[in-house]
């Protein structure tokens, strides 16, 4: 499954980047969403994927019998998902405020702060 995921994640990243390179801020935000999702999947699948063995210790046991999916990347991804959610909600609102202030969805019209 991992090689298939590698390709899928590549496509996801490509989509994300493509969206971010557009001039519309809305597309930029959608690109950011795709980007963080792709990164999370990458962490998840690069560590190896395991079918049907969630990292849970059965009731009454000290450790799972046999191998389980690596819990650490899962915890990392969980953290990353929540962080991405926070960042994304911020960006979404930022884009709305930017639209209200600049009155354009066109990023090319937002270059006053550079020279």
């Amino acid at each position: 499954m991992e090689p298939l995921m590698a390709v899928s994640i590549g496509v996801l990243f490509a989509c994300a980047i493509y969206m971010m390179l557009r001039r519309s801020i809305v597309k930029l935000v959608i690109g950011l969403m795709l980007l963080s999702n792709a990164a999370n999947l990458l962490i998840f699948s690069t560590a190896g994927m395991e079918r049907g063995r969630p990292p849970l210790v059965p009731e009454g046991m000290a450790a799972p019998a046999g191998s389980v999916a690596d819990p650490l990347p899962q915890a990392l991804v969980l953290t990353a998902i929540v962080i991405a959610f926070g960042v994304l909600s911020f960006s979404v609102v930022l884009l709305r405020r930017a639209w209200e202030v600049v009155r354009a969805d066109d990023l090319d019209k937002m270059k006053d702060t550079d020279t």
């Binding site: 971010m20 950011l32 963080s36 962490i43 990392l76 960042v87 911020f90 930017a98 202030v101 702060t113």
Partner: protein, 505 residues
């Protein structure tokens, strides 16, 4: 007892949480701002003292032995950076009392400031690569929020670029961490280092090094990844600019130092050579960017970029002397650059603009401010005997001794152009007479209390600059000790992993 390493992180976190709880109580927030940053400063002084006395300190969070839990590690570089964070935090907190508008205070300025400091301190102290990512994000989101506080048009435009490019950097970092974990199965930096050392010859190490280089290069605003910085740093309230200017990019630089001395130091002929070129181009493009500007804060912003080049150069040359120079440069720069931004804020307060063409006459009206400007400005340009001179001198000496003549030339040229920029500000803002007929001042008089609040941090930082210059020996000794540690990663690894047996819970 090294558990207190966490204090410089927990104190600002606590201050931030408390100011959040006291959201509606302005006085309380201001009190926490001063008290919290003062406590941070004290704890960071203590930490540096401890590290200086006892070597690298390690604390295993949750008592989980390394590499399984998260280790906080304070080596000299980390402790120095934390101390600088404390200094800058305290200075900016005082300055903010006078300059931050009520609106900003009412909408979370102080909690955001505390949490920014927490993120920065966390990044300096963590010994875990993913935890570093988390602190980066804390710092980043705090900076996002500080950047947009006020919702001006320019802030929004700047913030979009800032946010986007920094998020890209975070994602690159995250990808690199994911791949690294997949490869070596650990997150503890010391453990990564020792495991990668065992894998030497596997070219993936260099590939991952490139990812980290770009990720941190963006954070550090290195060429050609710095776009977000000049686009945004001049837009928020000046206390925020000062905080950013002093600390944020330096976290990127710190991360480069950490990673490229501890983890990716096996093929410096490849990785560090790229860094050399990056450093040279960063210096040059930053300073040229500044030469094209006529706005106080924009000039200063571009100079952050160019100075970052010097710091990276110290790392890139990768000789003991160069690392000393780099560390010295970081110490000097954080103080000086923050101070310059604070001064730009005072000028703005007095004259209502940052535009050099509209400014003037400050030298005549406020000679004390002129002197206060000259100290950091000349220090930034590397004029002796101020702090910047020694920083530049060591780096250049290292470059010449490493026979990197091309980059030496750039470094010297950039020094000249930096002076040119500072002199431009001096001539336009201070010497030139004010454009609309000299001494008529349409701006409200600055109150005594305000003067004290804005001048105290500026004076204190200027005194630091002078002291670092005139009494360079202790700072140099510190930088030297820090460089020795950085160039002996096995000591770091030993400190982190070696203690793991004793703290077994």
């Amino acid at each position: 007892m090294s558990s207190q390493i966490a204090l410089p992180i927990l104190i600002p976190l606590l201050s931030g949480a408390l100011s959040l709880v006291f959201w509606r109580f302005r006085g309380m927030q201001r009190f926490i701002a001063v008290g919290g940053t003062a406590a941070l400063l004290l704890s960071s002084i203590w930490l540096l003292g401890e590290v200086n006395a006892h070597g690298i300190l390690v604390s295993q969070m949750g008592s989980w032995p390394a590499p399984f839990g998260i280790s906080l590690v304070a080596d000299l570089l980390g402790a120095i950076m934390v101390l600088l964070t404390g200094i800058i935090g305290f200075a900016v907190a005082i300055y903010s009392l006078a300059t931050i508008g009520r609106g900003h205070e009412a909408f979370g300025y102080f909690p955001l400031m505390h949490l920014l400091l927490a993120g920065v301190a966390g990044a300096f102290l963590t010994g875990d690569i993913f935890n570093l990512y988390v602190w980066f994000e804390v710092m980043l989101v705090a900076s996002f929020a500080l950047l947009i506080l006020g919702s001006e048009k320019a802030q929004m435009e700047g913030a979009i670029k800032y946010v986007t490019l920094n998020l890209v950097s975070s994602v690159i970092f995250l990808i690199a961490v994911g791949l690294l974990y997949g490869k070596v199965g650990t997150l503890n930096m010391a453990d990564i280092a020792s495991r990668l050392a065992a894998m030497e010859g596997d070219g993936m190490v260099d590939v991952l090094a490139m990812m980290f280089m770009v990720a941190f290069g963006i954070k550090a605003a290195a060429f050609p990844l710095f776009f977000w910085l000049p686009a945004s740093y001049h837009t928020p309230p000046v206390a925020v600019s000062a905080l950013f200017a002093g600390l944020l990019t330096k976290v990127g630089v710190y991360a480069l130092y950490r990673v490229f001395t501890l983890i990716f130091h096996h093929s410096p002929g490849y990785t560090h050579e790229i860094l050399v070129w990056g450093a040279g181009l960063t210096m040059l493009s930053g300073v040229l960017g500044a030469a094209a500007q006529y706005e106080f804060r924009r000039i200063l912003s571009f100079h952050i970029v160019s100075q970052i080049g010097y710091m990276i150069l110290g790392l890139a040359l990768f000789t003991p002397l160069a690392i000393i120079g780099g560390v010295f440069y970081i110490m000097h720069h954080i103080i000086v650059k923050t101070n310059l931004f604070l001064i730009s804020g005072i000028v703005h307060r007095l004259r209502g603009t940052y535009d050099l063409k509209k400014l003037g006459g400050i030298y005549r009206r406020y000679p004390w401010l002129a002197v206060l400007f000259l100290i950091p400005a000349l220090s930034l340009a590397g004029v002796p005997p101020l702090s910047g001179f020694f920083a530049k001198f060591i780096v250049i000496r290292a470059a010449i001794e490493a026979e990197a003549y091309g980059v030496t030339f750039i470094a010297l040229l950039v020094g000249l152009l930096t002076l040119y920029s500072m002199i431009k500000i001096w001539a336009e803002v201070f010497w030139k007479s004010a454009p609309e007929d000299g001494d008529t001042d349409p701006y409200p008089e600055i109150s005594h209390r305000e003067v004290w609040l804005v001048a105290a941090p500026v004076v204190a930082l200027a005194v630091c600059t002078l002291l670092i210059g005139l009494n360079a020996e202790p700072i140099h000794a510190l930088a030297e000790a820090s460089a020795t540690q950085l160039l002996a990663p096995e000591r770091y690894i030993e400190a982190v992993l070696g203690t793991s047996q004793e703290v077994q819970p």
